[in-house]
Structure formats: C-alpha cells, structure tokens
Amino acid sequence: MGAVVVNGVFVGLIYGLLAVGLVVVYRVSRIVNFAYGETGMLCAFVFFGIRLHPTATRLVDHGILVALPAAMLLGAGIGAAMERIIARPLRTNPVLNGMVGTIATSLLFITLGIDLWGPDVHVTKPLVQGEGITLLGLVVSPQQLLIGACTVAILVALGTTYRFTSFGLRLRATAIDPYAASLSGINTDATAMGTWALAGALSAVSAILIAPLVAMNVVFMTFLALRSFAAALLGGLTSLVGAFCAGLLLGVAEGVITFKSPVAGMTDAVVAVGILVLLVVRPGGLVRASY
C-alpha cells in the first residue's frame, strides 16, 4: 500500500504541474487551454527526437542540454503563438469561443503528431539512470526522484516570480483586473503572451518528465491533461497552490482506488463521479480565488 501511495504521489506531481500551467493561463486570459497537453506532447517528441536522433550508422544523442532548451523553446513559442492567434483576438468575445479555439488547436496538434510520428508508441530514453533509493522501506526510482526535484524547483521558481518580482506583480495585477492594469501602464498584451509562453514551457517540461514512465504516443498527454483539467477545476482555476494540491491528491486517490478496486476501469468511474460530486457541492472549486 505504501508503494501505491508513493507512486500516486509522483503521478500526482505531474498532474499538479500540468494543473498549475492551466491555472497560470486561465488567470491571465480566462481561457482553459485544452491544447495544453498536446503542446507538451509535441515538445516531448521533439525532445526525444533530438536525444535519439538516428543517422545512417547510429543513434546520435545531442544530450539534455541541447534537447531540453529546444523543447522548452518550442513549448514557449507555441504558447505565445496561441495567445496571439487565439486568446488576444477573441478577448472581447465570450470565453467559450477561445476555449473552442484551443480544442481545435489540440486536434490540430494530434493530427500533426500522427502525420510526423505516426500513431504508435515511441521509445524514450530515461532522463536519469541508477538504482534509486529506499525511503522508509519503499523504493523510489531515479526518474521519480527527478520528477520530485524538478517539481519543487519549478514551484519555488514560480512562487518566487509571482511573489517577489516586478514581472510577477504585473502578472498578478493583470490577472486581477486587466482594465486597471492597462490604466497603470502595464503592457497587458505582453504580459499575457509571456504567461502563455511560460505555461507552454512548463507543459514541455511536464511531458518530458512523465514520458519515460508511460507509453509515449501522440495522445499520451491528452489523457494526463484530462486529469489536470479536473485538478485545476477542483483548485478553483485561479489558485496555483489549490490546483497543485488537487493534482497531487488526484494522483494518490487514483493509485489507491486502482489498488483496491476489484474491477478494471473502476478508477476512472470513481474519480469522475467524485469530481462531479465535488463540483456540484463546490462549483467554485475547493479553494477560493487567490492572487
């Protein structure tokens, strides 16, 4: 049971990271980015493409130091482009229009992925290798340790940016009231684009971290992102901490239910019903809006 919880925690960390990226975008544009998972998928394929690059005679690994910045730049570029092409022109329209735009983009990305890499599962390469460690009698793999370390680093960096930098203050101000922000001289367009780019890069990192633990095909992030949408909703869509904690809880709950469930496929049903009940009881999520 302990191992189940530990595994659930690490899956939950990824759900939480993805949910944080969704919340970051939602706070500034009031749009749920349904192409968030697919953005990560494209970046993960590019990352592992660079690391497992075949030449005529052998595989050439350009290394993480080349592959990771390239994938993050791609994610940031996709995020920035989506802000410019979808979110900004539709800002004065009902938010549903923007969300439909992101759904269309997600389908476009999946189609592009199938065209480039096909529908099959692709091989990945572990980001770290080794024996792992034993913690309280439970074995934690190097990949899981990496997920934990990266998650902590990303959350600390995000928290510091939001709380202690002028860019973070501008982000918070734009999220609270874009009208007042523009009257204060804040370039709300640049702020929104920066936020989407940040979230895009975050999506890339999340996908790269989880890919070696799952079967990487063009929809591997779609199913993970569905969970993170639920986590973001439970977190009230505006609270970074709320969304992250909800993602973490969801990961653990999923693991435990799967372990205890006598019927295959029970997990999805229980999680879905649980989320529906919570949303009926607390439509605004479990956490109050916080900026």
Binding site: A180, L183, G185
Partner: protein, 235 residues
Amino acid sequence: MSRVLDIRGLDAGYGHLQVVRQLSLHVDEGEIVALLGPNGAGKTTTLLTVSGLLAPLAGEIDVLGAPVGSRSPQALARAGCAHVPEGRALFGGLTARQNVALAAGRDRPAATQALAYFPDLEPHLGRRAGLLSGGQQQMLALARALASRPKLLLVDEMSLGLAPIIVENLLPILRRIADDTGCGVVLVEQHVHLALEVADRACVLAHGDVVAAGTAAELRQQPELVASGYLGAEI
C-alpha cells in the same frame, strides 16, 4: 506653460450612440480644469476617450503634444497620462504598497514622493487595497496615479461613495499636486462648489454639449450658469 491636453471638436460615444458633441477643451501644465455636469452629460465618456479606452467618433485629441490616434491606454499611461477612473480600479487583492509599486516600476522615489501626499495611508500600506475604507482607497488611487509621474492626470468622480468631508480634504491635495509637480488635471466632480474652489477653469456639459465654460472664479460668481447645466435647474 506648455499644453498637456488639447481637445478639438471631439465627438465621443459608444458605437452609434453619440454622447459628447463638438467638445473643445485644453489643459495647460499645472492647471486644474473641472469638467462638470449632471449624470449622463458625457464627462466620463470624455475621460475614457482621452485615455484611449474609447476611440473618438470625430475630432482630435492631443495628449502631451502628440495625437492620441490609435495609441493604447497602456501606451498613453506610459507616456504620462494617468487616469483615476470611476470606481478607482484598484487591485483589491494586492497590498496598498504593491498597488503604488506597480505604477512606479523601477522609479522607487516616485512611489515615495506620491505617498508623501497621503500620510494617512502610511499605516495601511501593508493591507490589501480591497480592505481599505473608501477614503483610503481614493487616496491610494491618487497615489498610484501619481507614482507614474504623470504630466496629465484624469480624475473621475473622486467623491463617489465618499463623505463630503473626505472630498474637502482630498481636493486641496490635488491642487498641491498640480502646483508642485506641474501636472495638468482634468477633474470630473459632482461637488460643484468644492471643485470650483480648487480648479483654475471649468467646463459644464449637459447632454453632451458644452453649456458653460470659463475660469473657476467667473463660474463661482455666476452660479446660474452652472446650475443651468444641471437638468435646466434655475437659481
């Protein structure tokens, strides 16, 4: 004395709804011009158009010597046009200090100088803006505007929801700000007599038309001119 705002033949409104007709108005450095009139006269619409939040239907507006044209509100704000809108538009979830810091950016002395005009705010700088009283919020809104070192300050209905005694205290501060910093001020205000006490000139709008204009001293001497703008009231 240079001109910070020059409005010529302005028609303004919302889509096909014209609210202001043929307004001409100018504000010089260090001058306070009161824009008076009843509800629906077009005062707020005028300010929204000057600060780039509404596109003018016709006419020309020069802010700090350059046409407003298609400049965005943030571009105008960065150029030196600060707008304290009706309702104050504070960031309620941020502290008072953060609200001011946002406008000051890297110019920290500007924040300090702006807050110096409002010593009553000092003990509350660490509180969230949304938790301050109405008077404190209005002071904060003015301080935030000042922290950007504006050359043109647009103040809309600062008395909204405030006791007259608070307005009586705030308006002389606005006069000091204009005198000290050379900032030109357009003041939209319902308390006519209080506004005329601090303003240099005034313009009375009714149903979008200018019905009276002159120096504040002239308008103080001829209250019937001002009153005629308010629902055709007679003295």
